[in-house]
């Protein structure tokens, strides 16, 4: 806990020290991806379900919010709420489908992958609405109310604090749930579903809750990500995007909340620090994924700190 508070304080102070735009930019991406990775691990690390639908929730919310703002000219915050709601509804449908039919890990992964692809194709092909593969570029930015008046979140510094806040909020929520009776129920499901059920845990309800909440958080991050980059495209929902998240989480370690953040930082910062083409970046992620799975199954976090049990 103390290290976490220290780290956050450090991070909050950083913009005072460095004015380098490129460093701030890297951090913004890392914070947002970190939040995304934490929300993924909320599902994968706790209930053990490998959801390849995560990017779909991320991208879906991004599209809904962008479309509401650019086409209907609604405000950012109402669009954010509706976008996350959209992710919740779709995730609820997916969860009901998968968990009612009692899909086990492996088939669950395949079905979530298939559903994610269907969603992506649907968005990609609804050309009139979404511009297809070209994506949508836009200039609107969120506005935040402060006692000093409205601030438009457009500068790197303001985005730095917004994305840091999101990372901290998502991580705090996931951490609090993980170490509570809710998190224990999730872990019980992951480790021995049958036993968990005989202990009085409604396995379907908890898996459902876990999946929907994790996906909702992914949607939340998706909206901010889209508004930061000013761009949204169907690849936001691609299986490759889901795999990037998996790579981050496995790299950092699934047993903690800090692990995915660490993994996200490394994989997000690396392509910026080392200038590499898009293809090389893909190769890097693929290599990392494979190396981590085969050599470091518990991720880097297990090397760095004490391993905490998932209860």
């Amino acid at each position: 806990m103390k290290t976490a508070i220290f780290a956050v304080a450090l991070a909050a102070a950083a913009p005072a020290v460095t004015h380098s735009d490129s460093i701030l930019t890297i951090c913004i991406y890392a914070f947002l991806m970190g939040a995304l990775a934490v929300s993924f691990n909320f599902i994968f690390g706790l209930t053990g379900q490998l959801s390849l639908f995560h990017a779909a929730a991320f991208g879906l919310s991004a599209y809904v919010s962008v479309l509401l703002v650019t086409r209907l000219h609604w405000g950012f915050w109402i669009s954010l709420i509706l976008a996350v709601l959209a992710a919740v509804i779709v995730a609820a449908a997916v969860a009901t489908l998968c968990f009612r039919f009692k899909l086990r890990e492996f088939y669950f992964a395949i079905v979530t992958m298939a559903l994610s692809e269907i969603l992506r194709l649907w968005i990609q092909n609804w050309y009139e609405l979404t511009n297809g593969t070209l994506g949508i570029s836009f200039v609107q930015k969120p506005e935040i109310w402060t006692p000093y008046g409205y601030i438009t979140v457009s500068s790197s510094t303001s985005w730095y604090f917004v994305s840091l806040t999101i990372l901290v909020a998502v991580s705090a929520l996931c951490w609090r749930l993980q170490q509570s009776w809710v998190g224990r129920a999730f872990s019980a499901i992951r480790l021995n579903e049958q036993l968990a059920e005989t202990m009085g845990i409604d396995v379907f309800a908890y898996k459902f809750l876990n999946f929907v909440l994790g996906s909702a958080l992914a949607g939340l991050v998706g909206v901010f990500y889209a508004f930061y980059t000013g761009f949204v495209e169907p690849d936001y929902l691609s299986v490759t995007q889901s795999l990037d998240i998996v790579a981050m989480v496995l790299l950092g370690g699934v047993n903690s909340v800090a692990g995915p953040i660490l993994g996200a930082f490394i994989l997000t910062a690396l392509p910026h620090v080392i200038d590499m083409g898009a293809e090389v970046r893909v190769i890097l992620y693929g290599v990392v994924l494979i190396v981590v799975i085969l050599a470091l199954p518990k991720g880097l976090r297990s090397l760095v700190g004490r391993e905490r049990h998932a209860t």
């Binding site: 609090r176 749930l177 170490q179 509570s180 009776w181 809710v182 224990r184 129920a185 872990s187 019980a188 480790l191 021995n192 049958q194 036993l195 968990a196 059920e197 005989t198 202990m199 009085g200 845990i201 409604d202 396995v203 049990h309 998932a310 209860t311």
Partner: protein, 254 residues
């Protein structure tokens, strides 16, 4: 009657595992279930626990049918079950197992309001730590509290299963071969624990192959053979029954 099983039948494709079995358990009773391997004993307990759905018949808990209820609902009704092969949560410690087992207690204590416990930083399990310690002591597991369950002996693993079931504060405890794989000493240990539970009024249905152990523990018994009930009543009488003896011929454990 606390639990009533009426004509329960379970078929797996062409195989009939349990055939029209009927018996009742009153509150506070300890009922032993005898029968050679494959006679349907484990299936019977699985049916009561909702882990399998009967092909026919009914199961009544306090007069209400519980057929078709999911295992977690049956647990909520107050029935707990242990497994012949210890079912555990890999990687976790004994204490972690017990904390998970307090799920039902929390639900019964606070109901929907337990969500509110998430608003603070406190882990609500703190309220149950005393009860957990009691159960661990009762099961002679207190020395292993923080040990990962994978480091325990087979007998201790089985005791963890019993301890978890007890933590659920059940009205009916279903035990599937609790002494199988246990050493003599561990069996005596278990017998003490179960006797203690019996005097506290916990109702039990116990399957076991150790005939002497079970006949000392359970005053009442039923006997199954090829899925059918072949005898029921006072344990001594059941064990002297001709049909039961011939079913058990050559499979007598001490």
């Amino acid at each position: 009657m606390l639990l009533e099983v009426r004509g329960i039948t379970k078929k797996f494709g062409g195989l009939t595992a349990v055939s029209k079995v009927s018996f009742g358990v009153e509150a506070g009773e300890i009922v032993g279930i005898f029968g050679p391997n494959g006679s349907g004993k484990t299936t019977l307990l699985n049916l009561i626990m909702g882990m399998a759905e009967p092909t026919g018949g009914d199961i009544l808990w306090k007069g209400v049918s519980i057929v078709g209820h999911r295992p977690f609902e049956i647990a909520q009704h107050g029935i707990a079950k242990t497994f012949q092969n210890p079912q555990l949560f890999p990687e976790l410690s004994v204490l972690d197992h017990m904390k998970i087992a307090t799920h039902l207690r929390l639900k019964r204590k606070l109901g929907a309001k337990r969500i509110l416990t998430l608003s603070g930083m406190r882990d609500v399990v703190g309220e149950f730590l005393a009860a957990i310690a009691d159960v661990l002591r009762l099961c002679r597991l207190d020395q292993y509290t923080d040990r990962p369950v994978s480091s325990l002996s087979y007998g201790a693993e089985k005791m963890v299963g019993v301890a978890m079931a007890l933590t659920c504060d059940p009205e009916l405890l279903l035990l599937d071969e609790p002494t199988s794989g246990l050493s003599q000493e561990e069996t005596v240990n278990l017998e003490d624990v179960l006797r203690g539970l019996g005097t506290h009024g916990v109702t039990m249905c116990v399957i076991d192959h150790r005939v002497r152990f079970l006949s000392r523990l359970a005053p009442k018994a039923i006997a199954l053979h090829h899925g059918s009930l072949i005898a029921s009543g006072e344990t001594g009488a059941v064990l002297r029954d001709e049909g039961v003896r011939s079913a058990y011929l050559g499979i007598h454990h001490a």
